[in-house]
Amino acid sequence: MKYDVVIIGAGVIGSCIARELSKYDVKALVLEKASDVCEGTSKANSGIVHAGFDAKSGTKKAFFNVEGCKKMPALSKELDFAYKNNGSLVLCFSEDDIPKLEELKKRGEENGVEKLQILSKEELLKKEPALSKEVVAALYAPTAGIVCPFNLTIAMAENAFVNGVEFRLNTEVKNIAKEGDSFKIETNNGTFETKAVVNAAGVYADKIHNYVCSDKLKITARKGEYCLYDKKVGNLVSSTIFQLPGAYGKGVLVTPTVHGNLLLGPTAEDIQDKEAVNTTKNGLDSLQKTAAKSVEAIPYRSVITSFAGLRAHADTDDFIIGESSVKGFYDCAGIESPGLTAAPAIGAWMAETLSKDLSLNKKENFVAKREGIKSMALASKEEKEALIKKNPLYANVICRCELVTEGEIVDAIKRPLGATTLDGVKRRTRAGMGRCQAGFCSPKTLEILARELNTDMTKITKHGEGSEFLSEHKSL
């Protein structure tokens, strides 16, 4: 069996490419080493839709960022994921730095960002009363937004799957060999043959690239630590608050999330271990200290969790997108911020490129719309009643903090590319994402997973093999 395209990696980039590619008549496969889509960088980031003024004009980052930002509102409706256009501010704390704001504004305009505006201290404090009184001015980008990174990725993957793209989870690429016009991809789950390979392997994109190409690539994992705060303090700020950027990126931001929490982060630290998603005392301390410069009275006691993600940083400091030195092997590497924003645009561009190179035809029966899991928490009274009437499981609340019901969890498991792990349910439904962080609901969610997957609770994992929660009693 030979594929037209194999995409390596089911993060936001791989999933967006898969979805856009599924508009064509194509035999495509996504390989993912984790047990679910959205298990790497895509699950631990700021969830920001950047306006697009940060990246230098003419770079791929600038182009795909602005394009992605423009696509996001319509896409969020088409694929039913949470997005909010809340605007962003870049704060400046010294009169001497105002030229830097103006430079950012100019760069943004060159990049095609609309409606950029410099706000005075008075305007700022009126807009965001919680900001530090030390603030002098800020660049306001009304087109910026916030998005649910999980459901953006999951929606793309689901829609790709519905449109015929195959997914192999728990499948890790061990080697790739080019033989004639095709590639043989060796995995722990068999070998796959394909005409084209798309490398969307995140922090491992160098490893995948280097299997095939003689010009070697290096991706550095750059860790970012975050603190997430309770919804009761989620309205501390309404825009996404940045500080003037430094050498390691856009610095620590303070933002509401699209679900109404408050998020602080990320730090930036280059690390060796590409699995080291641990938080550190230094990281969390420095994070809170830096954030305190932007916003007064950060409600430290309302923290509900902290986490870390790894950005895939390329030495070139730009996205590496397109066909590599080897014909038929395409890279989407070094996709650090603004990668989440850029992802839909990267997906569209890659799909178009592949369609030309492989002479693919548009599909006639492409299903563009995807309906997400109905959220009882967000439903009106009438919608709630209708859901319960149709399926009484929607009246059985499993996660009290986020008001997630059994109906939603069962849907998350049963739908295309459904959840098989506790984290998978959590990312799809928010069960366990609230203030008690799954203390009450995890036993019930494990039970539901075991029942729906027709297995035993001891087989259910947090995020794949090795992360089992429970075992049988040891016999004495």
Partner: protein, 420 residues
């Protein structure tokens, strides 16, 4: 539907409140319980030691609960199970949801809040490290072992010496796990003395005071945790790190009253307890809304929960029957003096005082040979010697109405711990 008294929660507090309200003459009482069983968290507390005060015998949690469930059944008190309350308005209209009824409302004349508490999760502790499987709150682990019959792990470190953590140290040991240590941030345990003796000492499990977890390792499942001693400011002391290999970390780091509904409806909450501010009748800032049990403040013994809850049930009944005078603005506040973290109630109204007034509180530190002193204005009206007061044990003073009324102008009752 309409009811005289709606009770939110069918755990020990809700059950006792319902029984007492019924016995005081209000037959139209309804208990709303989200689980499929009455009894609340007692259902998973299969160890004994419950009921020593109430029944003068040692019962297990389910047995203790059953005594109250039986009384509720005898009285035919209406219980809506698998029913979750999603909103209560300040006009006492309850919106609830169940598989059977869908979304429905209950208009109540009085409400007793009895939703209990939940455990402080890892996230709130902001402990650095990985986020693998194998980290559970002690109560969740208790559910896995006692209800699901599964083992949450085999080599265990416990952070926090709250009672559930201590109980689980013993439980896990009895089930064949090895409990390596219990680490406690404070220089004293937050649990009952009897639990330290019966659950740790008897099994040779070390209790490491002034110690915390500073790192959690393991990408898929916990592989080790690192403990360190802390200084007086609770900061880890470099050089005292101790890495312990384990597959499980249990957390018993405090309980938080679950007051989302109360706060949505506008009930004033105490920043210290996280529970409602109540007066002598356990009535909250909203007329006709009462609170009791762990949703009001976290108790050490369920016997005291039952006692407090039956008081709340009685007051709710009197409110409904019109036997309560309207709340006057004139209050005597109860303030916290040296060593006292909070009091329940926070104030009394002289015109509503009964013959005896119980004030429950907790201390903020360990005191040896202290005196619990009660002041009315400047005058000390009660002084009681104790061998020890510790944060893990709830304290109480009982005042006579006559003593409080003796000083007409007094505006404040103060409770303080005095040591020589």
């Amino acid at each position: 539907m309409k009811t005289k008294i709606a009770i939110i929660g069918g755990g020990p507090a809700g059950l006792a409140a319902a029984i007492e309200a019924y016995d005081k003459g209000v037959k139209d009482v309804v208990i709303l319980e989200r689980d499929s069983l009455l009894g609340g968290i007692l259902n998973q507390c299969i160890h004994n030691g419950f009921g020593l005060h109430t029944f003068k015998e040692e019962l297990t949690g389910p047995e203790y609960a059953q005594r109250f469930i039986d009384k509720v059944k005898e009285r035919n008190i209406q219980c809506l199970l698998e029913t979750i309350v999603i909103d209560i308005s300040d006009k006492k209209v309850i919106t609830a949801m169940s598989k059977e009824r869908g979304i429905f409302t209950i208009e109540a004349e009085a409400i007793v809040l009895a939703m209990g508490c939940r455990e402080r999760p890892r996230g709130a502790l902001n402990t650095p490290g990985y986020r693998p499987a194998g980290i559970y709150s002690a109560g969740t682990a208790q559910r896995y072992v006692n209800i699901e019959g599964k083992m949450p792990g085999h080599k265990v470190v416990i952070l926090g010496s709250g009672d559930i953590g201590l109980i689980m140290a013993r439980r896990m040991t009895l089930e064949g796990a090895k409990v390596e240590a219990v680490a406690e941030l404070m220089p004293y345990s937050g649990g009952l003395k009897r639990n330290i003796v019966q659950c740790l000492d008897d099994f040779g499990i070390p209790l490491k005071l002034s110690t915390t977890v500073i790192d959690i390792d393991g990408k898929d499942r916990v592989t080790s945790v690192t403990l360190a001693k802390v200084d007086e400011k609770m900061q880890p002391i470099p050089g005292t790190e101790e890495k312990i290999e384990c597959d499980t970390l249990l957390l018993s780091c405090g309980l938080l009253p679950e007051n989302e509904l109360s706060s949505q409806m506008g009930v004033d909450l105490s920043p210290v307890t996280g529970g409602a501010k109540v007066d002598e009748s356990l009535e909250t800032s909203i007329d006709g809304v009462f609170a009791c049990g762990n949703v009001l403040h976290v108790h050490d013994l369920v016997d005291y929960v039952s006692k407090e809850a039956s008081e709340a049930g009685r007051h709710a009944a009197e409110y409904v029957l019109g036997n309560k005078t309207k709340r006057s603005e004139e209050v005597v506040n109860i303030s916290t003096g040296n060593g006292v973290r909070y009091t329940v109630p926070v104030c009394v109204r002289k015109d509503r005082l009964e013959d005896l007034l119980t004030i429950r509180f907790r201390v903020g530190n360990v005191y040896k040979n202290p005196e619990i002193c009660v002041y009315l204005g400047d005058k000390c009206i009660q002084r009681r010697k104790k061998q020890i007061c510790a944060p893990g044990e709830m304290e109480q003073v009982i005042l006579k109405k006559a003593d409080i009324l003796a000083d007409d102008g007094a505006k404040e009752i103060k409770i303080a711990i005095e040591t020589n």
